[in-house]
């Protein structure tokens, strides 16, 4: 197994272009959290032409709704949620310059087409490894939609967040390729 690729946010087109499906990466820098409810609000703002709580250009969104932090802790458990629920919204976010998404599970053909067209990448993190992943989150701050509780938008600072490239900007799909490789003939 090759060594993981270290990436720092925000991403340029060149950062994204060099990534291929199956690459293991360690992401550091600022990332933003959002689930379905927050995405619905973001896309509504975009449709109305209003400003977003953060500029998505070059940024990475992590699909997560963490558990509450215990006293003295930055965050609770914080593993990925299933990504297809964000499929209706992700192409719009990618058009706004979003360069990366972290989640788990399949994406739609529309999302995969947007990754290709606008040079963006979808990473899979290990679902159910919320305690492990929380250790690489160094700060967390709610920046919008506090009323959504676990679904609020948080600005996270992460160090060496482990993920794997599932859909690259070249049309690759690790879920399809991996399955093909190991399915009994």
């Amino acid at each position: 197994m090759s060594d993981p690729i270290r990436l720092t946010t925000p991403f340029s087109d060149a950062d994204v272009e060099k990534l291929k499906i199956g690459d293991r990466v360690l992401i550091s820098g600022v990332i933003y959290t959002a689930r379905d409810a927050a995405h619905a609000r973001l896309v509504e703002l975009i449709e109305k032409g209003e400003a977003l709580p953060f500029d998505p250009a070059g940024q990475v969104i992590y699909f997560v709704g963490p558990t509450p932090p215990k006293p003295g802790k930055v965050i609770g458990s914080a593993g990925p949620t299933t990504s297809y629920r964000m499929d209706p919204y992700s192409p719009t976010m990618i058009e706004q310059g979003l360069k990366g998404m972290i989640g788990k599970g399949k994406r739609s053909d529309e999302v995969k087409a947007a990754l290709k067209e606008h040079k963006a990448v979808y990473f899979g993190a290990t679902g159910g490894a919320g305690a492990l992943i929380s250790l690489c989150i160094k700060s967390a701050q709610v920046i919008a939609y506090d009323d959504l509780g676990p679904e609020a938008i948080r600005k996270l600072t992460v160090e060496d967040f482990p993920a794997t490239v599932v859909n690259d900007c070249h049309g690759g799909d690790l879920y399809m390729e991996g399955r093909k490789q190991y399915a009994a003939k």
Partner: protein, 280 residues
């Protein structure tokens, strides 16, 4: 008639909510080790190692294994010679969930109504299944159930002519369509027979068994083993990234049904297969 104060139920559920969400059962941990011994995919083994490490971090730090601490599914087997005192049984269960999810810093994942979607803020109400059994004891089981795997579940009202082949095809289709979404390796809960609602309930109940423990009926045990092998031939693998460990176990429960019917339900459980039991 034995009396049981419902405050004891609240206390028990509070403790179980925290323990179930922070301590992964030995049955699941053993299943990870077995899978690691045979999984040929590097990525797949890496995922399984992460899951083992995650379980030890969660246990040491008393923090949730997964951020989705679930909807609180509670099974209560009530002895018919038991009399509850000191309050409402259902409210006592909800209060235990409320206290456990607050004190355990667990996520509140329940919305008041499915279309207007405002969070109840305390993870209540629990989903409560009560059955009356002989005796004067109360057996409580709490199974926090995550949304990601629950969403990949399905039900089919097959024709009797579809038979066992129809059941197998439906189970394999559910797992295949779910692919990476429900956080494989999964446990596949199958309910066959009964009525529309009983098939679904049996599928959920089958998930309460220790992972990989077979049905006591040899016919259904053999069917479980066969389906387990077929599911793992799909190639989905840990987190869907390819491999031979798609399922840690297929559990089937069955029930008598109408001469015209063959209901089959599949309830998918992620690898964070959490449940706790207590007898009061």
């Amino acid at each position: 008639m034995r009396e049981l104060d419902v405050s004891l139920i609240t206390q028990a559920l509070k403790r179980m909510a925290i323990e179930a969400n922070t301590e992964l059962g030995d049955d699941v941990l053993c299943a990870f080790d077995k899978a690691l011994a045979i999984e040929p995919s590097d990525t797949g083994r890496d995922v399984l190692e992460q899951l083992k490490l995650n379980a030890s971090i969660a246990s040491e730090n008393k923090m949730p294994l997964c951020q989705d601490t679930g909807v609180a599914v509670v099974f209560a087997e009530v002895g018919q010679d038991l009399h509850f005192v000191g309050g409402d049984l259902n409210e006592a269960i909800d209060e235990g969930v409320r206290q456990g999810y607050a004190e355990g810093y667990l996520r509140k994942s329940i919305v008041r109504d499915p279309l207007n979607r405002v969070n109840t803020g305390d993870n209540t109400p629990a989903i409560i299944h009560i059955t009356v059994v002989p005796g004067d004891k109360l057996k409580l089981t709490l199974a926090p159930k995550g949304g990601g795997s629950e969403n990949m579940s399905g039900i089919a009202m097959l024709k009797p002519a579809d038979g066992v082949e129809g059941v197998k095809a439906f189970v394999l289709e559910c797992v295949s369509v779910a692919g990476p979404n429900p956080c494989p390796p999964i446990i596949v809960g199958v309910g066959v027979g009964g009525t529309f609602e009983i098939a679904a309930l049996l599928a959920k109940k089958s998930l309460l068994r220790p992972v990989g423990e077979h049905n006591s009926d040899p016919y259904y045990a053999a069917l479980e083993a066969e389906l387990q092998e077929e599911v793992n031939k799909l190639g989905i693998g840990p987190m869907g990234m390819g491999g031979v460990t798609t399922s840690l176990g297929v559990h089937i429960e069955y029930h008598p049904c109408h001469i015209a019917s063959l209901p089959v339900a599949v309830n998918i459980q992620c690898h964070s297969a959490r449940h706790k039991e207590v007898e009061l």
